[in-house]
C-alpha cells in the first residue's frame, strides 16, 4: 500500500530508466507485505485444514483393528472403501439426493430470483428477505426444528390434515424420509442460491431489455432467452455449490436420525458412515480412508461437471 500511495512524479519517471534492480526490489517488498497480510489466514488454514488433512491422509494408509493392532497397508483401505457395499450404497443415496434435490433448489431459487428481479415494490424487498431468512438459521437448528414439525405429535401436520378429514403422512417413515430431507435442504438453501442468482440478474445492463422490448420480446421470452443465458456462469457456480454440499450430505440426516433411527441408518450417507466409523466404532483409519474416498468422488464429479459446462461458465 505504501508503495502505491507514495510515488511522486519524478519517482515514477525514474522507474523505467534506472535499470533492473529497482522495480525488482519494489516488487519483492510488495511481496513481503503480501505475505504478511496473508499470514493470519494462512496460519489458521494450515493449522486447521492442511495439517489435519495430511494427518488424516497418513492415517488412511494404516489399519487399526480392535484385536490385531496397527499396520501399514498402503492403498488397501481405499480398495476396501471402493468395494465396500455400505459406502457404495451411501454414494447411491447421495447421488439420488443430487438428482432430486439440486434441481428442486435450482427451480425454486431461479423462479424466485426472476420474479423478484421484475418487481420493484417494497413487497419484493420483503419477500427477498423472507426467502433468504432460512439460510440465516443454523443448519442444526433448522433440522431440529423440522424434526418437531414432522413429529406426528407436536407437528402441525395432523391438525391440518384432520381439517380436511385425511390422515397425516408419516414424514419420518422409511418411505417418506427422502422427501422430508429434500424439503429441509430446499427450504434452507434455495434462498441463498436465489440471492446469488438475483445479484447476477441485477448485473445485467437494462439497456439489453429495452432493446429486446423494442424487438417485440415478451417478459417470458426475455427471461428465457436473455436473462438465463446471461447468468449461466452464476447458475453453474450455484450447481457446483449444491453438488459439493449434497455429496457431503451429513448434518440434516444426522440430526433427524435422533427421531428416526430406523429410517435413517448410521451409514445413510458416506459422511455419516465415516462419522460413525470413527466416533462410534473407533475405526479412525478406515474412516479417514472413507473421507478421502468421498473427497475423490466429490472432486471427480465437480471436475466433470465443470468440464461439461465450460462454455456456460466461461472457463473455456
Amino acid at each position: 500500500m505504501a508503495t502505491t500511495t507514495a510515488p511522486t512524479s519524478s519517482h515514477r519517471a525514474d522507474v523505467p530508466q534506472k535499470a533492473d534492480h529497482r522495480p525488482d526490489r519494489n516488487y519483492r517488498r510488495r511481496q513481503r507485505w503480501g505475505w504478511l497480510f496473508v499470514a493470519p489466514f494462512a496460519l489458521i488454514f494450515v493449522t486447521f485444514l492442511i495439517l489435519p488433512l495430511a494427518f488424516a491422509f497418513r492415517m488412511s494408509l494404516f489399519t487399526n483393528t480392535l484385536a490385531a493392532g496397527t499396520d501399514f497397508v498402503g492403498a488397501a483401505n481405499y480398495v476396501k472403501a471402493f468395494t465396500d457395499p455400505i459406502f457404495l450404497q451411501g454414494l447411491g443415496t447421495v447421488a439420488k439426493f443430487a438428482l432430486i434435490m439440486i434441481p428442486a433448489q435450482m427451480i425454486v431459487a431461479l423462479l424466485a430470483a426472476l420474479v423478484l428481479d421484475n418487481l420493484a415494490t417494497w413487497a419484493s424487498k420483503f419477500s427477498r428477505l423472507m426467502i433468504f431468512v432460512p439460510y440465516a438459521v443454523p443448519v442444526v437448528i433448522g433440522a431440529l426444528m423440522w424434526g418437531f414439525l414432522y413429529s406426528p405429535r407436536f407437528g402441525p401436520a395432523s391438525n391440518i390434515f384432520n381439517l380436511v378429514g385425511l390422515a397425516a403422512p408419516e414424514f419420518l417413515s422409511q418411505d417418506n424420509i427422502f422427501g422430508s430431507l429434500v424439503n429441509i435442504v430446499t427450504w434452507q438453501w434455495a434462498g441463498y442460491y436465489m440471492i446469488i442468482i438475483y445479484a447476477a440478474l441485477r448485473g445485467i445492463d437494462p439497456g439489453i431489455y429495452e432493446a429486446a422490448v423494442l424487438d417485440g420480446a415478451s417478459d417470458r421470452q426475455i427471461a428465457a432467452r436473455i436473462k438465463i443465458p446471461m447468468i449461466s456462469s452464476s447458475l453453474v457456480m450455484v450447481i457446483i455449490f449444491a453438488l459439493i454440499g449434497t455429496l457431503q450430505f451429513f448434518t440434516e440426516p444426522q440430526v433427524l436420525r435422533a427421531v428416526a433411527q430406523g429410517a435413517i441408518p448410521v451409514s445413510y450417507t458416506p459422511n455419516m458412515y465415516a462419522f460413525s466409523l470413527a466416533f462410534s466404532y473407533s475405526q479412525f483409519n478406515y474412516a479417514s480412508a472413507i473421507s478421502f474416498a468421498l473427497g475423490i468422488v466429490v472432486f471427480v464429479f465437480s471436475f466433470f461437471f465443470l468440464f461439461l459446462t465450460r462454455k456456460q461458465s466461461g472457463l473455456k
Binding site: 493449522t47 486447521f48 485444514l49 495439517l51 489435519p52 488433512l53 495430511a54 494427518f55 488424516a56 492415517m59 483393528t65 480392535l66 484385536a67 490385531a68 443448519v139 418437531f148 413429529s151 406426528p152 405429535r153 407436536f154 422409511q174 435442504v185 438453501w189 454440499g245 449434497t246 457431503q248 450430505f249 451429513f250 448434518t251 440434516e252 435422533a258 427421531v259 428416526a260 433411527q261 430406523g262 429410517a263 441408518p265 448410521v266 459422511n271 465415516a274 462419522f275 460413525s276 470413527a278 466416533f279 462410534s280 466404532y281 473407533s282 479412525f284 474412516a287 479417514s288 473421507s291 478421502f292 468421498l294 473427497g295 466429490v298
Partner: protein, 450 residues
C-alpha cells in the same frame, strides 16, 4: 451440510491434542488456579491434588460437593461430558489422540469391554478393588469384571420391572399380567376396549432394552474374556432370542403394541399421556418418568415384576447400569482408583444418589438397608416399589457378557429389528442376518470366532 467433513477426523484429533495440551497434569497435585476453572463444581481444598471425573448422574453436583467437603487430601474436578454415547465418543477420541481423557469416567457396564480392548482402562485389582468386592451386588460386580480383572466399580443397576397404569387397566378390566402369555391377552383386551391406548411400545432402537428381553428367555449373545481378547463367541440368534423376537413381532403385526423410537420427544410424551398402558422399565425408569413433563394428572402408576416366560423358572434381567472406571491416561492411578471406589462407596453419598438422583444402588450397605427396602414412592401412590419389584429382580440377576464392539452390535440390531417391523423379514431371518453381520465384522476386526 457444507461442513468440510472430509477433514473432520483429523481436525477433531488435532483439536483434542491442542485443547488438552493446555490442561494436562491433572491429578498431579497442581490443583487450584487455572485448573479449577475447568471444573463444573467448586474446589474446596485448593491445595489438594485433583482427580478429574466425567459423569452424568442426576444430582451428581451434590455428591461431588459432599466428597470434596469430606476429603482434605483429594478433590474431584467434575465435568458432565454428555450422556452415554455422547460421552463415549469424546472418550474414544481422546484414547485415539493419547490425551484428553479424565482420570475417572462413568461407563455403562455394557461398554466396558469396548474400552478394555483398546487398553484404555486400568485393572483395579492392583489398587485394592478386591477388598471392596463384598460391598457390591454380585451381578453388578460380575458385569464390571472380566476373568480375574476388575475394570470398574459398580454404581447403579437397572433390574427390570413393569410400570403400569392402574387406571387404564381398571377401565379395561385387565388383571396385572404375570406371564408374557397373559401380557398378550391383556394387550388384546386393551385393544378391543377401544380407547386408543396400546399396552406398550416395542422400540426398534431399544438396544440394551431389546437385548435384556432376549436374555430373559436365556439368550447369551456373547462369550468374551478380556484375558483372551482376540477370541469371541457370538450367538445372537439362539432359540431364546428368536422366541422373544417372534413373540414381539406377533404383537406388532396384530397392532397390539406401538413401534415408536425410544428416547424421542414423542416417545417421552406418549409414556406419560396414556398412549401406552405399560412402561417396561429398569429400576431407573421411575426417576425417568417423574422427570417428564405433560403427564396425565389422573394417571395412577403402579409397579409390578416383569412378566415371565416360565413361572416355575423366573429369570431376572437388567437394563443399563453404570460404573466408575479409571483410565490409563490418569497420572495418579492409585488416587484415581480411590476416588472411583469412594465416590458412591459411602452410605451418605449413595443415599444422596438414591434420594436426589433416583439411582438403584449396587452398593450393598444401601441396597440392603431397611430404609431403601421400605422406601415409599409418592409417584406410585406410596407403593414400596423396591420391596415389591426391584430388589427381587436385582437379587436374581446373575450378570451378562457384552461384546467389545457393543455399539456396532446395537446399531445392527436396530437395523434388523426395524427391517422386521417394516415387514421385510421375519424374526428368525432378522436374527440370522444379525448373526452373520456380526461374525463378518468380528473377523474383519481380527477376532477369532469361537
Amino acid at each position: 451440510m457444507k461442513a468440510k467433513f472430509l477433514a473432520s477426523a483429523g481436525i477433531v484429533a488435532a483439536t483434542a491434542v491442542a485443547l488438552t495440551g493446555c490442561s494436562g497434569g491433572n491429578g498431579g497435585g497442581d490443583g487450584g488456579g487455572s485448573e479449577a476453572a475447568s471444573c463444573t463444581n467448586t474446589i474446596v481444598n485448593a491445595e489438594a491434588p485433583q482427580v478429574t471425573v466425567w459423569a452424568w448422574y442426576p444430582a451428581f453436583d451434590q455428591v461431588v460437593d459432599n466428597f470434596n467437603n469430606a476429603n482434605d487430601d483429594v478433590q474431584i474436578c467434575w465435568t458432565n461430558a454428555g450422556q452415554g454415547n455422547d460421552e463415549y465418543t469424546k472418550f474414544s477420541t481422546s484414547i485415539e489422540s493419547g490425551s484428553g481423557a479424565p482420570d475417572v469416567i462413568q461407563l455403562e457396564s455394557e461398554v466396558l469391554s469396548s474400552f478394555t480392548i483398546r487398553d484404555a482402562l486400568v485393572d483395579l485389582t492392583e489398587y485394592g478393588a478386591n477388598d471392596v468386592e463384598g460391598d457390591y451386588a454380585e451381578g453388578a460386580w460380575e458385569d464390571a469384571s472380566s476373568g480375574d480383572a476388575v475394570y470398574a466399580i459398580p454404581v447403579d443397576g437397572g433390574p427390570m420391572g413393569m410400570l403400569y397404569r392402574q387406571d387404564i387397566f381398571d377401565a379395561a378390566g385387565i388383571e396385572v399380567p404375570t406371564t408374557w402369555e397373559e401380557f398378550e391377552a391383556a394387550a388384546r383386551t386393551l385393544k378391543d376396549s377401544g380407547d386408543g391406548a396400546v399396552i406398550a411400545d416395542f422400540p426398534t432402537n431399544g438396544r440394551a432394552f431389546n437385548q435384556a428381553l432376549f436374555a430373559q428367555a436365556g439368550s447369551e449373545p456373547f462369550v468374551y474374556d478380556s484375558a483372551n481378547p482376540q477370541e469371541i463367541g457370538i450367538t445372537v440368534n439362539d432359540d431364546g432370542a428368536k422366541k422373544v423376537l417372534e413373540y414381539w413381532n406377533g404383537l406388532v403385526e396384530d397392532g397390539l403394541v406401538a413401534t415408536d423410537d425410544a428416547f424421542t420427544a414423542d416417545y417421552n410424551t406418549k409414556l406419560v399421556d396414556g398412549s401406552y398402558a405399560v412402561y417396561l422399565a429398569a429400576a431407573w425408569g421411575p426417576g425417568y418418568l417423574q422427570g417428564l413433563s405433560d403427564s396425565d394428572p389422573d394417571a395412577v402408576w403402579r409397579a409390578a415384576p416383569l412378566p415371565l416366560w416360565d413361572e416355575a423358572n423366573p429369570v431376572q434381567v437388567n437394563w443399563g447400569g453404570s460404573t466408575f472406571a479409571v483410565t490409563e491416561q490418569a497420572e495418579n492411578k492409585e488416587l484415581a482408583a480411590r476416588v472411583a471406589m469412594e465416590i458412591f462407596g459411602n452410605e451418605e453419598r449413595m443415599n444422596l444418589g438414591v434420594d436426589e438422583g433416583a439411582l438403584f444402588p449396587s452398593y450393598l450397605p444401601v441396597l440392603e438397608s431397611p430404609e431403601f427396602e421400605n422406601k415409599e414412592y409418592e409417584f406410585f401412590g406410596g407403593q414400596q416399589i423396591n420391596k415389591d419389584v426391584f430388589l427381587d429382580a436385582a437379587a436374581g440377576y446373575e450378570g451378562a457378557t457384552f461384546s467389545p464392539f457393543q455399539n456396532y452390535a446395537y446399531d445392527q440390531l436396530t437395523e434388523q429389528i426395524y427391517a422386521m417391523v417394516q415387514g421385510e423379514k421375519d424374526a428368525d431371518q432378522a436374527l440370522d442376518d444379525l448373526q452373520s453381520s456380526l461374525e463378518q465384522y468380528a473377523t474383519e476386526q481380527g477376532f477369532t470366532i469361537k
